[in-house]
Symmetry: C2
Subunit: 764 residues, 2 copies
């Protein structure tokens, strides 16, 4: 049992390690050579094109201004200084609202922690239950609900506090929902003209023997939206083409690598073997080899490109239909078009760069079957993932390896290596699985057939949360695999389950405190170091970078990673709400996590991350829903816990809590959620009217014509010069969109014509 | 334990009683004097204005044509003869589709019964488990699953059959959903022009300090639907006025009564006492008294009418907004109007006669609170309704009555009366509760704030079904009150519950067979007699009827009563599906019920019922959903039953069944449900275009102007002559709507201007 002292030591260690991370970060970040790793966002925004310090050659790589080392924690206030509106302008609404999740954590838990320490710690501490019992206990337990004698009237304090905490949480949640909803609406209202405002994605266009998809779409919308239809773009099945383009990009990297090597050492031309992994085969001149291969691929690409544009079979039964006004697009996206609700499905078109092109052509029946398959697969993944891992673990023991590869036997038998394998191997299978879990979940979502990256990420986040809830939260409280738990729960009565879990909760407080410190504190502090991008950048920089453009490409700012980050935060909400009444001593640890994470992620969002898409905070209903879930779980577990403490007279009052909380959720859902899924006609009409007054001669058709062309067609290739030209033409047409400062082509929250052309950067 | 013989006797008794009902009906219906009770629909349709037989005075009341007595079961083939399209034309789509529910029952259960008798009865019968056991058993049990030894491999038959039955049911359900959806769409497409096609109900118009509700609505829609807005009508709070009108109608009935009495016996003018219930007080001339009172009420009514139209506070924040095209109305009904999703709520306007006027002004927040209250209230009603009834029962015993009214003591102590009270009183409280239950549920739905009668009925039906499922189905299987069951279930594990219920199921087969015969067979046969309307009609006819119009009013055709009838049918689906695998001998009884009910209700729909509203089969998703629920319940119970029979190796296969069934339900929901809740734009556009081509000079504004006026304003009163005139004017404007045969003003499926004017009939 960990005492308060143990925890203090643990905290000290973790604080020190976090501090060490910060120190290393502080040193690394002011080295000019790392500038593109720690400030890529500024490069992408076009506000910085070379490290700030100029001067001697050496100072291009190492910072010699020693005064700057003294101010090594300066980045923290700097990160906090940027006001929210500027942040939204700088990094998009998604990022700004993502930061608010941490803020909500602080807003909810700081007052709760104060109240809990003022009221409940004394109430818990001034009992002697644990002292008089023969149980082993620690000081932490003395501060928790376990210290209160069975049947005591002091439980009323906990009951009242549960009400107070619930009301406070709901109050904050409601206020926050309101704020975020109005931020979203304001953001949408003040946005520049973007193609997705006028465009609707139509899926499942029914086959027609007489007309091509394009004609069919045009006729259908000319008939059914006669005054509003403007233009449309069909969707090509360019999956093969884009894999060719990918391949070409990879080859070009190799060519660059060899060319660079040759230019550094001109004495001999680089050679390579053509066989497997370059280990055997004919020796050829590397530069010639890759030049030839790229040329061949270029031909293949252009013939494939031609095939796609000529062959009607490569047109998928989906199209992007654009309207003359936002009003008409809002109308079309929110209504049903035909009798058959599985054809002519309309929905808002995602931003061009948010589209997941591969999924656009899945028919309705296939979608429902995929949904069933994924649901079943996810169920098995959650509850039975331990089975294959245990199998791998059983294989990966020493005897197994010795049998499989007898050669290694003498090495393995060494005592040191043997103990490493025995201690390390069983864990590594699990670790690898957990590292790949988000990818697996993302693949599931992709298979399910969502058509935009933002939806894919939101869906994966939901699944990841469920997985964590069952396997981390419940799994830590009731030891045993998820499947054993499931089996237990099936064989237990409905009111036994909260009891079983509730009883174990106070005992696991110290474990979760340690978890928060290691995973939360040190993890967040490690995040700021960006170790992986740092290494990769320097490798690429050394081997591949020839021009300034290459260097820009070598930067990997990454993005927030909503699908992994958000479920992580939700776990802390869950822990905080569950332990608020039971063991309030856990709360400060959570508050420190939220504060630290807020500062670190604010810094990263300002300086590093570059969001791929902008969903205008469409994820907020999920966040809200999960915090409410955590609240209900905490109430049920408290009910279970109290019922074992013979405080049964409080049960009816406790039952009211989840009922009220769920009602609160439904109220919020009705009141605020529509702001995140629909687009009110009044807003649309307002923007349309304004625009018509401001720019009566706007050529909207020109603006929309090429917005939804598959990225590989968008002049992504050298030999596609004509396309590039067309994109350039469009740019000239609309100087009004581009603000005064130079905008990088990689940045998302800009008018998406620009972001659409990121393909140009990516593919040559 | 009932043997097969007992059941045969029971069946014989119930068949005979049903036969007796039919016989009495056959005699009563051919008496001309009852013509308006048994054929009101034809009078309302205007196809009949006096009994068919003319001739001598006596034959006006009694049928003397003895040959017609011989053909006493003739109505049955006659009822079946009318083809479905004609039926839809005659009685509306709602009624026609309602009949299809019975047909589905036949379609599902007839093949299932054949298969079950061919396969499962032999499998069950050829075992000796029950014979060799010491248990008491009957022949019925020998035909059921109870007769199979524990752990037998014969359970595979039941498993396979469960799959076959599920697939068959799903197949029928899917086909039927498809048919009904296309019937609905065809019905909507071929409908005459109706005001609700062009109109949207707008609720929660936000208050504005500068503009009246009417101006606000007009400006809002002129701005946000500029090309489509046509006109609007505000909603008045006329609840007080309509109660005044009601009161006046009641007084007029009394006046008619006394006038009729005077005209029959002119020797003395009728008098009455003004005190309580006419028992004491001053004696006054009855005719003068009521004439005076009616006059006073007339003045009050007209002043109230004036007050409403002058006072802006009597305008509710709701309005009916009409558009120039169906397309625009469909758009407005299916989109969100403003940022704030709780104001300017738009939905399809119900038919004018379907509107529940009292609920139109409930604000959004109040709606969500009401929903919470009703949910909690319904929970308590379902699980704790026995508590007040037990309380009443404990009061209503002999000692209680003797204490309360000592005078009655000698009478009560009589042996016969004592036994009647003891045997009868405890049951009567429950009986009264069950009779009033649909009314209570309807009140709940009204309190919840739905704005159309059809939604109210659908909601009540859902609640009634849940109540029946818990209290009749589960309550009969596991004896004990619903609350005791709930308590049991909470204390049982999730996989114990289906076992507990599953085990008792085979034992309750005979009980349910009896229930089906009494409630189903005899109940349906009793329905055709229409005893209550028969008596009331003759009473009214004798005391109140002066003119032909009065007689028309004295008819009470009633309507199908979806909120009570449908849950009843669903109980039979549940029983059939649950027992199909367990005790197939129950199936023929259910088939007889469905066949009988189909014929009887087809007759009633053709000849009697007059639907209040036409929702175009909007209830079908509920029907489908409940049959699927029954299917899943039956699968879970079978799983529970088999797991107690040590046929556990079949469990994984059985688990797949509910998963597949639920997936089937979701598939159907996505595929067909939209047809019942949305109105596809293509359809709307088609009708608009056709109409524009056919009637280019249509005065739509005139058609819609007064469609959504509150019934009490629609010239409902003698002194409202001007209003009557305006309605008459409208009629003349559009001769094209009224088909060649004279259409009664009371009939619903007509263009609703006509049905709106039913107020004229009702209120003078």
């Amino acid at each position: 049992m960990a005492t308060l002292g143990d925890i203090a030591v643990g905290a000290a260690i973790n604080i020190l390690s976090a501090f060490a991370f910060f120190l290393i970060f502080a040193v690394l970040r002011i080295q000019p050579v790392n500038d593109r790793v720690y400030f890529p966002k500024w490069y992408l925004k076009g506000l910085r094109s070379s490290p700030l310090h100029a001067g001697a050659f050496i100072s291009k790589f190492v910072n010699l201004d020693f005064r700057s080392y003294a101010r090594f924690l300066n980045w923290m206030p700097a990160a906090l200084r940027m006001p929210e509106p500027e942040l939204i302008d700088h990094a998009g609404l998604d990022s700004a609202v993502y930061l608010r999740i941490y803020l909500i954590g602080l807003k909810i838990f700081t007052p709760i922690a104060c109240l809990a320490f003022a009221v409940m710690v004394p109430v818990n501490w001034t009992n002697g239950t644990l002292e008089h019992s023969n149980l082993e206990y620690s000081n932490v337990d003395k501060l928790s609900i376990s210290n209160i004698p069975i049947g005591s009237r002091r439980f009323w304090t906990h009951l009242v506090m549960a009400y107070v905490f619930t009301f406070w949480t709901c109050y904050i949640l409601k206020k926050e929902y309101e704020t975020v909803a109005s931020m979203r609406l304001h953001f949408l209202a003040s946005e520049h003209r973007r193609p997705d405002q006028f465009t609707v994605l139509v899926r499942n266009v029914p086959p027609d023997p007489d007309e091509s998809v394009s004609e069919l779409v045009e006729h259908f919308f000319l008939v059914n939206h006669p005054d509003h239809y403007l233009t449309h773009q069909v969707v090509y099945n360019a999956n093969k083409l884009s894999s060719l383009v990918e391949e070409k990009k990879r080859l070009r990297n190799w060519l660059d690598f060899y060319q660079l090597r040759y230019s550094r050492n001109q004495s001999k031309r680089p050679v390579l073997k053509t066989g497997f992994l370059g280990l055997w085969g004919n020796r050829v001149d590397a530069i010639d080899f890759y030049t030839l291969k790229i040329e061949r691929l270029s031909n293949e690409t252009s013939s494939e490109r031609e095939k796609i544009s000529k062959n009607p079979k490569s047109i998928m039964p989906a199209a992007f239909v654009s309207f003359k006004t936002r009003w008409a697009a809002a109308v079309c996206a929110q209504t049903q078009q035909t009798r058959n609700p599985t054809t002519w499905l309309t929905e808002w078109a995602p931003e061009p760069c948010d589209i997941y092109w591969d999924n656009l052509a899945i028919p309705y029946v296939s979608l429902t079957i995929r949904r069933l398959i994924v649901a079943v697969a996810f169920f098995f993944l959650t509850f039975f993932f331990m089975i294959p891992i245990a199998f791998v673990q059983s294989l990966a023991n020493i005897e197994g390896i010795e049998k499989a590869v007898p050669l290694l036997k003498p090495i393995i038998e060494l005592k040191f290596i043997k103990s490493v394998i025995q201690g390390f191997l069983p864990g590594i299978a699990l670790k690898i699985f957990l590292i790949f879990l988000p990818t697996i979940l993302m693949l599931m979502s992709k298979f399910e057939g969502f058509s935009s990256i933002s939806t894919l990420e939101r869906r994966s986040a939901t699944r990841y949360y469920i997985f964590q809830f069952i396997n981390v939260f419940l799994g830590s409280i009731i030891t045993g695999t998820a499947f054993q738990q499931l089996d237990n729960f099936i064989h237990q009565s409905a009111n036994e389950i909260p009891k079983t879990i509730g009883v174990s909760i106070p005992m696991k407080a110290t474990f979760f405190i340690t978890y928060i410190m290691v995973d939360g504190w040190a993890g967040v502090a490690g995040e700021i170091l960006r170790l992986k991008p740092l290494i990769i950048y320097h490798l690429r920089n050394f081997f591949l970078v020839k021009t300034e453009k290459d260097r820009e490409e070598a930067m990997d700012p990454g993005s927030l990673g909503f699908n992994t980050g958000e479920p992580q935060i939700q776990l802390y909400f869950l822990l905080g709400l569950v332990y608020a009444v039971v063991t309030p001593v856990l709360l400060p640890f959570i508050i420190v996590f939220f504060a630290l994470a807020y500062v670190v992620y604010r810094h990263q969002i300002i300086n590093v991350y570059n969001q791929e898409y902008e969903s205008a905070a469409a994820f907020w209903p999920d966040i809200h829903g999960r915090i409410v879930t955590a609240l209900v779980v905490s109430q049920l577990l408290l009910m279970g816990l109290l019922s074992t403490k013979r405080a049964a007279q409080s049960t009816p009052l406790l039952i009211m809590l989840p009922v009220l909380t769920i009602w609160f959720h439904m109220f919020c859902k009705g009141r605020y959620e529509p702001a995140f899924v629909t687009y009110p006609l009044q807003e649309a009409m307002m923007k349309d009217t304004l625009e018509r007054a401001r720019e009566p001669n706007l050529n909207l058709k020109g603006f929309l014509q090429n917005a939804y062309v598959h990225p590989v067609f968008k002049g992504g290739d050298d030999d596609g010069e004509s396309d590039v030209v067309s994109v350039e033409d469009l740019k000239e047409e609309e100087p009004s969109i581009v603000p005064t400062k130079r905008q990088s082509r990689r940045n998302t929250p800009l008018p998406s014509k620009q972001s659409g052309s990121l393909a140009i950067v990516d593919q040559d």
